[in-house]
């Protein structure tokens, strides 16, 4: 159990560094620290599927983000004018939001004891009903396959969108 807490604090630290560091490249790398600790956390939370997907996605995301950061020659972050008022307002808003959220989150079931209204059926009958030994796959591709169709379509859309946005000429000459 303590490993999960330790990793959670590591993730918080990593994300604070990623937000506040001046160098874009270090920010990208701290972001990768967050992502990889999330991957290890998934392993401790008994979610190997998520861990595998997270690690491959993290690598691709890291490469893509470094490519984007590499466009700028000097990797320094731009120092905008400090808008003290906006920063304070945001901060106060976030604190109010956080207090409200923390009060609300106590109403959730305790960590480690989920409700599992639907999932208990997946667990008890998943193998015989779908034939897949990996219950996550049986949920993903049989019980909720429609979601996965949507997911594949999201990926298709985003890739098509990226190709469209990156094409050289948008409008034909008149």
């Amino acid at each position: 159990m303590w490993e999960i807490y330790a990793l959670a604090f590591l993730m918080i630290a990593g994300s604070i560094v990623a937000v506040h560091t001046r160098y874009l490249l270090s920010a990208v790398i701290s972001l990768a620290v967050v992502g990889l600790s999330l991957c290890v956390t998934f392993l401790y939370l008994q979610a190997p599927d998520c861990a595998i997907t997270q690690v491959v996605v993290e690598v691709i995301a890291l490469i893509i983000l470094i490519r984007a950061a590499g466009v700028e020659k000097d990797l320094l972050e731009i120092k905008g004018k400090r808008e003290a008022f906006a920063a304070t307002a945001t901060f106060i808003f976030i604190i109010v939001f956080a207090i409200f959220a923390f009060a609300a989150l106590t109403h959730l079931p305790k960590f480690g004891y989920p409700v599992m209204k639907v999932s208990s059926e997946y667990i008890s009958r998943g193998l015989e009903e779908t034939g897949a030994a990996n219950l996550v796959t049986s949920v993903l591709l049989d019980y909720r396959a429609y979601d996965t169709l949507g997911e594949a379509t999201v990926l298709f859309t985003a890739i098509l969108g990226a190709i469209v946005v990156l094409r050289e000429i948008g409008r034909k000459e008149k």
Binding site: P48, D49, A51, I52, T53, V56, V57, V59, I60, I63, I64, R67, G70, V71, L127, E128, T130, G131, A132, A133, N134, V136, T137, S138, L140, L141, D142, A145, Y146, T148, L149, A152, T153, L155, F156, A158, I159, A162, I163, L166, E168
Partner: protein, 151 residues
């Protein structure tokens, strides 16, 4: 010296030599992961990304020209559409075969064997092809664009 290594494009010889040995196992591992998605952790999406990352390693180490000889962007884009169509066809075939959209209409087979679970492995293959093509195409586009933007 092999013609690929003699090119100036890409990284140093050490990287090129190592990636020559590493890329085939990476792609093979991706295929393994796609095919065993219903038995072990993994599945179509991570397997497809792993296959694509093999090609991405090729781009990074050998440069884009060599990679284009192995897998063209237009081919990747066609693969992407084809994979998506395979998955959609499996979904629609459920209507004539089982009466509902997305019915698992094939026999379930013996559990814990590689040929089991009806359409799930087929769907995984479709997703794997699609993801490989898509991730490769988008990465290639990003790389190529960056070079032409510097001009």
């Amino acid at each position: 010296m092999s013609p690929y290594r003699a090119r100036k494009e890409g990284m140093t010889n050490i990287v090129k030599t190592i990636s020559k040995f590493v890329v085939p196992p990476i792609i093979l591992f991706g295929i393994y992961m796609v095919l065993h998605g219903h038995l072990t952790p993994g599945g179509g999406f991570p397997g497809g990304v792993i296959m694509a990352s093999g090609f991405i390693l090729l781009i990074l180490s050998f440069g884009k020209e060599v990679t284009l000889k192995k897998l063209k962007v237009s081919t990747a884009s066609i693969l992407e559409s084809t994979g998506a169509l395979i998955f959609l066809c499996l979904a629609i075939l459920g209507i004539p075969a089982g009466g509902w959209f997305f019915v698992n209409f094939l026999s379930k087979g013996y559990p814990l064997k590689i040929i089991s679970a009806g359409i799930i492995p087929l769907a995984n293959i479709g997703i794997g092809i699609k993801v490989m093509g898509g991730v490769f195409a988008v990465f290639f586009t990003l790389v190529v664009f960056r070079i032409s933007a510097k001009r």
